[in-house]
């Protein structure tokens, strides 16, 4: 872009003209905002208003516009000018809807609007029109790792949508665990009988599909690249093949919990104690006839022990519920009852959980005479040629024993997500430090890696809890913390076949989206379609590695000299690197230390004796800023002393903004972000956590400035906190009023 020509458009519709002095706003845009062109309009988002802006862009060669009207989240279709840089001064949701009515508030209301306009003008002048990721590539094939029900579904769905798919399967045949089942839990009406798995048909469809390529007996030796240009080394029986793909779906499923870890329940000790997978094998052998034990004896009574090594509070076993095992035991009890109704089948449970339509299945089993006993099993011992199950009956509150020819333990799912990066990273550091032991440990760990990513941040996708892959559980479950790589099935959370099928379909669509976005040089979710990308001024870089370590998505590698190497296609555009950079060399074309910094400085600061404090709000654009908008929509009033700036993520907040704000006389800074911790809501996973961590260190800075620690506060705001956010603001303003005005005014 050659010459910058700026323009400001001030709308007086939606009551803005009644509540605000529009003429004064125009003067400010001209004199203080230094806008080349300033226009007022009574209805800016109307066809006529929009046309006026378009005409200016076409005829007056306007390149940077500031629209002073409603929130940036409103009227996005009308105010869509992809050829110019644009800022929005939020006068409607941000000012007239939240400042109290009445003449006595006219002054503060107008001041607030004036400031937002100043900020909008300051921001746009620092913005550039994003040009799109220059390093994009347009491979749109989908690689699916794992050929179980999830993998097969994901590959088939991708192929049916018109995309080529490649499956890499470790075993000699497709199907995974699902192929080892005799029958599956019903997923169609009337949800009463075990159903055929349909796996052989599914595998056959996949194998013969013209757009699907299958590598059996194969693993991944190395994955490099980024969305749109992943290069994957597939090690198979006939050597290593390189597959070029655009996106990856990891559907590596689970392993069963080791029976040997449950000796008190006879696991690994007694021949007639098996797990659910073992029973499926017996059922397949029986092939519809009454199931016999491994020693050939027919089974007259069988006990299913639920939650074996699961939901364990002691820390010895799996702490979680695997979700499918109740339904699986019900199904397996039916194997016995259907072949011979005289067989005694007891399901021993503490809480029976059959999600979905499982209640119907449960009832069906009760009708068939499967006995359900609420009890906690204490031990399984050998007795005669069978077992004795000792348990506490939780209804009758007494200890009891039942005899069983066969005991089936419902053990849980253990995810196969690969290397745990939290354990990996310290070992890598130690290995780099020269420890031979660590080097061996590293090689040992690498053996279980699924993807063997050559990323600086480690060979697999990050995990959150219990070894399951990390993803935003509520908003985008299939996303992992490696852009363009999606997790589907039990690798993500414990689940049954039906859920895995749905999961795989969802992940396939996300993978397609990622490949498509990458081919256009745009960001993936949640800033889907964003053309900006991080640019680093490497001559200023001190190789501190903070950006490479803190990037939640592993987008940044390092070169030999330890300078960051940005992989724009892997970037989600959260700006966490920008917030992390102590020398502020990282920026985006339309979002930088300057675009926000100039807004902070543009605010007109009243003097110490005015009794008008100024409080800066840095609000996450995903949840907190919409919550503020909705507070306005619902007319939850809040103080006119605050000035809110949306940020891409709290992780992108550079501490320089805070120090700048305090230096220039702000009386307080509120940072509003998403919930962090294990149950995080942060759309960029680590952003709000990092922000919180960084702000915990800001107390020293405040002390140096001679300021109270309360002058900077961080709060968690959910998108639904509309009334709460107004309350939070008012409480904070009250607190700041109590503390008194900042002594820093007038120095900035």
């Amino acid at each position: 872009m050659s010459e910058m020509k700026t323009a400001a458009y001030i709308c007086s519709g939606c009551g803005l003209g009644d509540k605000l002095d529009v003429a004064q706003l125009s003067r400010i845009a001209q004199k203080e905002g230094k806008m080349a062109l300033v226009r007022e309009h009574a209805f800016l988002c109307s066809e006529e208003g929009v046309q006026m802006i378009r005409d200016d862009i076409d005829r007056e060669a306007v390149t940077h516009i500031c629209i002073a009207a409603c929130s940036r989240r409103a009227k996005t279709e009308a105010f869509h000018f992809p050829t110019v840089a644009m800022s929005r001064a939020n006068l409607r949701e941000g000012v007239i809807w939240v400042v109290a009515e009445g003449d006595q508030h006219d002054e503060v209301r107008q001041e607030m609007a004036d400031d937002y306009l100043r900020m909008g003008c300051a921001e746009v002048k620092k913005m550039k029109l994003p040009q799109g990721n220059p390093a994009h590539a347009d491979n749109r094939r989908i690689l699916v790792v794992g050929g179980g029900i999830s993998g097969l579904t994901a590959a088939l769905e991708s192929a049916e949508a018109g995309y080529e798919a490649v499956i890499v399967e470790r075993e000699a045949q497709l199907g995974g665990w699902a192929a080892r089942l005799w029958k599956r839990v019903p997923f169609r009406q009337p949800y009463a009988e075990p159903q055929d798995t349909g796996l052989s048909e599914l595998a056959a469809r996949v194998s013969s599909h013209p757009r699907i390529r299958v590598h059996l007996n194969s693993t991944i030796a190395e994955t490099s690249g980024a969305p749109g240009r992943f290069s994957v080394q597939v090690a198979g029986p006939s050597g290593t093949i390189t597959e070029q793909v655009g996106a990856i779906i990891q559907a590596t499923g689970f392993d069963t919990y080791d029976l040997g870890k449950l000796p008190e329940l006879g696991g690994g000790k007694l021949p007639n104690v098996t797990d659910q997978a073992g029973l499926e094998a017996l059922a397949r052998t029986a092939n519809g006839t009454p199931i016999k034990r491994a020693d050939g004896k027919s089974v007259q009574n069988v006990v299913f022990v639920q939650c074996a090594g699961q939901r364990d509070a002691s820390g010895m076993h799996l702490p979680y519920c695997s979700g499918h095992c109740c339904a699986t035991s019900v199904k397996q009890a039916m194997y016995f009852k259907d072949a011979n109704p005289q067989v005694d089948t007891v399901v021993m449970y503490t809480d029976l959980r059959l999600p979905g339509m499982g209640e119907d299945f449960y009832r069906s089993a009760q009708r068939k005479g499967v006995t359900f006993t609420k009890g906690k099993v204490a031990s399984v011992e050998a007795e005669g040629d069978g077992c004795a199950v000792s348990f506490r009956d939780l209804i009758l509150d007494e200890d009891a024993v039942i005899a069983a020819d066969l005991v089936v333990l419902a053990t849980g799912q253990v995810p196969s997500a690969g290397v745990d990066l939290d354990a990996w990273n310290p070992i890598v550091t130690a290995a780099e430090g020269g420890s031979e032991e660590a080097r061996q440990k590293k090689a040992e760990m690498q053996k279980i890696s699924v993807l063997n990513l050559n990323y600086r941040q480690g060979p697999d996708i990050p995990q959150l809890k219990h070894g399951f892959s990390d993803s935003h559980f509520i908003c985008f479950p299939y996303e992992t913390r490696r852009t363009g790589i999606y997790a589907a099935g039990p690798v993500r959370r414990p689940m049954d076949m039906l859920q895995a099928t749905e999961d795989a379909t969802g992940a396939a669509l996300k993978a397609i989206q990622a490949a498509e976005n990458a081919s256009l040089g745009r960001a993936a979710h949640p800033r889907s379609g964003d053309l900006s990308y991080p640019v680093a001024r490497l001559e200023g870089c001190t190789q501190c590695k903070r950006c490479t370590v803190e990037c939640p998505f592993g987008a940044i590698d390092e070169d030999e000299k330890r300078f960051p190497v940005f992989n724009e296609s892997r970037c989600r555009r959260c700006g966490t690197c920008m917030g992390a950079c102590p020398v502020r060399v990282i920026s985006f074309e339309n979002y930088s230390v300057d675009t926000v910094g100039m807004q902070i400085k543009a605010v007109d600061m009243p003097d110490e004796f005015s009794e008008k404090p100024r409080i800066l709000i840095l609000a996450c654009e995903n949840d907190a800023y919409p919550a503020l908008d909705m507070a306005g929509l619902q007319r939850h009033l809040y103080s006119a002393f605050v000035r809110a700036i949306p940020v891409r993520c709290l992780g992108s907040v550079n501490t320089i903004w805070i120090t700048d704000a305090l230096n220039s006389g702000y009386d307080g800074v509120m940072m509003m972000g998403c919930k962090h911790g294990d149950d995080y809501q942060c759309h960029f996973v680590k952003g709000s956590e990092l922000a919180n961590y960084r702000m915990s260190k800001i107390d020293d800075t405040l002390k140096q400035l001679g300021l109270e620690p309360e002058r900077v506060t961080t709060c968690e705001v959910a998108i639904t906190d509309n009334a709460r956010v107004a309350r939070l603001i008012n409480e904070y303003v009250e607190k700041i009023t109590e503390i008194g005005m900042s002594p820093m005014k007038g120095f900035g």
């Binding site: 006995t371 359900f372 009956d393």
Partner: protein, 207 residues
């Protein structure tokens, strides 16, 4: 142990649930209980019972035949139908309670002197004989169920009520001699005998 009881024990061995299913009125529902405990929580007299319906069902599944059939609990049901209304699995719990009580009664396993059973028995005997419940005879039988001396005491305690009823012409002392009956008690006896025969066959009491 009665002959029928002996026969049932031999026939079902440990499978009391199956016995209940086949021989107790509405017993086939017991297996559908999901042990949520709403019945136990809903029963207005739940605190007074030794075993709540939930526990009785669990005991049936656990094969506690003796304990269930000699229990006092199902006799305590007042048929308020709270449990039936609330049961999420739609079990006819009240009816099952009566079914269990009836089965225990037939096997003669009921605790000695269980008052509900005594009242029911007197009521039924009076009704089955004439087709009408003779209130005077029924009341007197109740007074004297615990012996002659206690009967006199009960009667004296209630004499004011009795005279009051007589004065109001709600009680006819002549009912003590024969009393009124339905048109054809003989046919009624045949009907009852037939019904009993059918039930005995169905419930395994036919010898």
């Amino acid at each position: 142990m009665s002959e029928h009881n002996q026969q049932a024990v031999t026939r079902y061995r440990n499978n009391f649930l199956q016995e209940v299913e086949e021989r107790v009125e509405d017993g086939e529902w017991v297996k559908m209980c999901m042990q949520c405990g709403v019945c136990a929580g809903s029963c207005p007299l739940g605190n007074a019972w030794q075993h709540t319906p939930q526990k009785l069902f669990m005991m049936i599944r656990a094969g506690k035949r003796e304990e269930v059939l000699t229990s006092d609990s199902m006799w305590m049901c007042t048929s308020c139908y709270n449990c039936i209304v609330r049961c999420p699995r739609k079990l006819p719990i009240t009816h099952i309670m009566h079914g269990l009580a009836n089965y225990a009664h037939r096997l003669n396993l009921v605790p000695k002197g269980q008052p509900t059973r005594e009242v029911a028995r007197l009521f039924w005997n009076s009704l089955a004989k004439t087709g009408r419940v003779n209130e005077l005879k029924f009341s007197l039988a109740l007074y004297f169920k615990d012996g002659f001396v206690q009967g006199i005491r009960n009667a004296l305690a209630m004499q004011g009520v009795g005279f009051g009823l007589m004065k109001a012409r709600r009680l006819n002392p002549m009912e003590l001699f024969g009393g009124h009956k339905c048109k054809d008690p003989g046919s009624l006896h045949k009907m009852i005998a037939k019904a009993r025969e059918i039930e005995d066959r169905k419930k395994g009491f036919a010898s």
